[in-house]
Point group: C2
Chain length 302, copies 2
């Protein structure tokens, strides 16, 4: 617990991580490039929203860096330390969302963040983050590879790290009104400081790197799968669930909308195209039916 | 205040109102008809979800009747009587949402509802409801006619009724993260019982009738306006705001999702087609720019 807290090192890492994620996504594209939209709200709050739209591979992707200094931490921002609610805080993070064009390529999300907050007595800090994968057509091979990379990222941090953060992810990315998970999960952690600063920072970096290393091969593997109107219609329908989760439940989205005037940066996560059809039910035995039956739920993918 | 409460009369009225709204919407269509989906959750909770999809005029419309008996009233269901939170309740209502195909025809929403709840000492009841109009292309003529009909519905109930419920509507259908109203408003009221049962019930009926009488002429007036890809794209973009409001803020939606297993009935309000584009800004001077500049905000339409 005694390693020195270095918030500037976290900020530098996250800015570099944003650059490397932008570069990695641009390598998937022939022509499309990210629009880079830096912003500064005041002396202490700033960021850069990077959004790519209309790519051949990525219909829409966002890679956002932000550092927000706020006067009062909302209760939603820390589950385990309610005593910090209302205290001044600094939050630095990168959020990534990818909505690929091909319905056989899953959508993906990653967030890594560092918080610090001051009570009358002391300065407190913690890391949070994780990643999850949202397929529209499920493949066991992808789900196993995704979770294998998640498990490998956790391995140096103890045998209980992967099962704990995997379960937390299944519980977090859950739509109670649908009785289903957003996708096949991955990792989720929050309020993490028990390992001391250096080790927890190292874990956050592992998670960040693992996301790109787990996701890019899946994009490449599925990116040339032929598809037609049927698959696009199902993708559009399922993207409605993505919008439901983010607007109804996602703490990052709700926290962001309450603590920033940058609604566009926060809502970059929402899909380029979605729609709601009353009481749609996929044909029994179809690939569309298999998604809910076999992939949306808490499953052991080892 | 002494008129006898007759919950069954309200239920009968609302079931008939659902039938008349379904019939009025079907008259707009050449072929499309509502799918009628009756449901019964247990002995005391039942309803009928009526949804029309793929019409020539109405791309999607829902007219839902429901009567829900619940063990514990959520705090969100009553603003002014926090002492009723957690008490057993009955809620009977009709919700109507129309998403027309032609972008020049505004979307519209109406809700009328009757609540009763029991404290240890007494039975309490109140009415709530209202309607609002969400144009994608604004027309002064429509906005004035809409509000004139709203004002006429309120007139028999006192000079302060229209300004009070009009302002409440502007405040309720507001997206704080966007700094804009959902549309041009209309009427919104809740916790209404001060006029006694008979008179308040009569007001709810006036509101229900006024909605159809205000909306149908606008559909007819704008329904044949030529449009192309540009208008459909703007409609799709703006429908994203509709989804944002309903999923982030609408008390009816959030209350429904927490108190029912019928997510599909509640989310019938969501648009058939929408999408999010980062930091879209309409061309200055365009009809699309005029929407936010002249129509989305609290304005006097008399």
């Amino acid at each position: 617990m005694s390693s020195r807290v270095d918030a500037e090192a976290v900020r530098r890492y996250l800015e570099q991580y944003q650059d490397s994620a932008v570069a990695a996504f641009e390598e998937l594209e022939r022509q499309a490039r990210f629009r880079q939209d830096p912003w500064q709200q005041d002396d202490s709050s700033f960021g850069c929203t990077c959004v790519l739209e209309g790519g051949d591979v990525l219909e829409k992707a966002g890679v956002n860096f932000s550092r927000v200094v706020g006067p009062a931490l909302p209760p939603a921002a820390t589950e385990r330390h309610p005593e910090l609610a209302g205290q001044p805080f600094t939050a630095t993070g990168v959020s990534i969302v990818a909505h690929p064009r091909n319905p056989y390529v899953p959508a993906a999300h990653c967030n890594v963040r560092f918080f610090s907050a001051r009570t009358a007595e002391e300065e407190r800090w913690w890391f949070g983050g994780g990643f999850d994968l949202t397929p529209y057509y499920g493949f066991d091979e992808d789900a196993r590879a995704w979770h294998a990379r998640a498990r490998a990222a956790c391995a140096p941090f103890g045998a209980d790290a992967y099962p704990r953060f995997k379960q937390w992810c299944d519980e977090y990315f859950y739509l109670p009104h649908r009785g289903e998970t957003r996708g096949i999960g991955g990792l989720f952690f929050d309020d993490l400081n028990a390992w001391g600063f250096s080790r927890t920072f190292a874990f956050m970096q592992e998670v960040a790197v693992a996301f790109l290393e787990a996701y890019l091969p899946i994009v490449q593997r599925r990116g040339n799968t032929p598809y037609g109107d049927r698959e696009r219609a199902f993708q559009k329908y399922r993207r409605g669930r993505y919008a439901e989760f983010n607007l109804l439940y996602d703490r990052g989205t709700l926290f962001g909308l309450q603590n920033s005037r940058r609604a566009e940066s926060i809502l970059m996560s929402l899909p380029p195209d979605c729609g709601w059809t009353y009481d749609y039910r996929p044909e029994p035995g179809s690939a569309e039916a298999a998604l809910a039956e076999r992939f949306l739920g808490s499953r052991d993918w080892s």
